[in-house]
Amino acid sequence: MTPVANSRLPQLLEGRESHILDQWIKAQLAGPLSRRGMIPDSEVRDQSREFLGLLRHAVGKGSLDSMEGAAWQGVRDGLADISRSRSTQGFSASETATFVFSLKQPVFNALRDEYGADAAGLVDEIWKTNALLDKLGLYTTEVFQKSREEIILRQQEEMLELSTPVVKLWDGILALPMIGTLDSARTQVVMESLLQRIMETGAEVAIIDITGVPTVDTLVAQHLIKTITAARLMGADCIISGIRPQIAATIVHLGVDLSAVITKATLADAFAVALTRVGLVVRPGSARS
């Protein structure tokens, strides 16, 4: 473990902090991130100032060899925050790591001034500082990767939720309004969700509305037919509504056989059929005054 006393980094960061900070901010603003204008200059300044403060504190209290200790918690948390926010903003892992790596030059400059003619001391110090900043840069990358994975997972869940809304129109009648492009995976999830709801609610009719679906390919058409067949095996009937002329043409062109399936142009028409199927009739009520 490198005794803190042997390194002049703590004093350096203490005494020359504002100078190092200025140079560092300049380097970042001149770099690719700023050129893209994706982060406001003020944010770069604030993040850098905060990080340098945390670094000074950690270097002053803890060991230079390992980042694991309690003294480095502040630095780790700070880096993790910046890494996560850069990741959300759409930067790459290396672009994010540049935040740390661009600190090297200003620090090395300050070290050179500090050590003057003491070449051996300078080389030693530069080596230690370099190793430290490398570790910090790599840590940034690790956090970055993790947060990307978390984003993807969360988006997947949200997508699944959005794409499987099964609504109850009336006792025994469910509707599944499908929106957006259907792909094989999504259609399967939707199919399972609909069948599950049919069982849970004891629905006799399920209306699958595809008004919001721009195109249907063979795979999706097959999935729809499988869903309808499975629902039938469970004892429920399905009606497809909202087939637009283009989709009707595609279906015929693909040779998909929908003769066994009830199809209606609108959800309203389908609902009317469903009501009849469950033995219900809609009558005008008494007038309200």
């Binding site: 199919m191 399972e192 069948l195 599950q196 049919i198 069982m199 004891g202 629905a203 006799e204 499988k226 067949t229 499975a230 629902a231 039938r232 095996l233 469970m234 004892g235 429920a236």
Partner: protein
């Protein structure tokens, strides 16, 4: 020998499959049901698979056979309670059981059968039977 019990409820026969059937048990059920339909003159058969977790092509064929043979003996068959996972798997297997009527549960299945039996013979009064578990 192990058998699946068949309940008589008026004009209907009710079978509730609650075990993971091995092939022989399934074949025995097929035979037993056919015999029972002929013996009792039942006009409806209700097969409850609401607790069945796996239906493979053998069981699927058994169900289709029962429906076909019952039909020949002038009885209607309704299959009730298929679980979603089973339905999805059967469709993927390519087994669609055409010609087998289905309903969500025993209650609906019985209502369906009784309506059909009534339609076939208006002067006969179904469901008025003893409802006991005769064998």
């Amino acid at each position: 020998m192990e058998r699946i019990p068949i309940l008589k409820m008026g004009e209907l026969l009710l079978v509730s499959i609650q075990v993971d059937m091995h092939d022989q048990l399934a074949l025995t059920l097929q035979d037993d049901l056919t015999t029972r339909i002929a013996d009792t003159g039942a006009h409806g058969v209700l097969i409850d698979i609401s607790t069945v977790e796996v239906v493979d092509s053998f069981i699927g064929r058994m169900i289709a056979n029962i429906a076909a043979m019952a039909g020949v003996l002038d009885a209607r068959t309704v299959l009730v309670g298929m679980q979603p996972a089973v339905a999805i798997t059967l469709v993927e297997l390519g087994l669609t059981l055409p010609g087998v009527r289905t309903a969500l549960n025993v209650e609906r299945g019985m209502a369906l059968l009784q309506a059909e039996v009534r339609a076939l013979a208006p002067d006969r009064r179904p469901g008025e039977g003893d409802g006991d578990a005769g064998r």
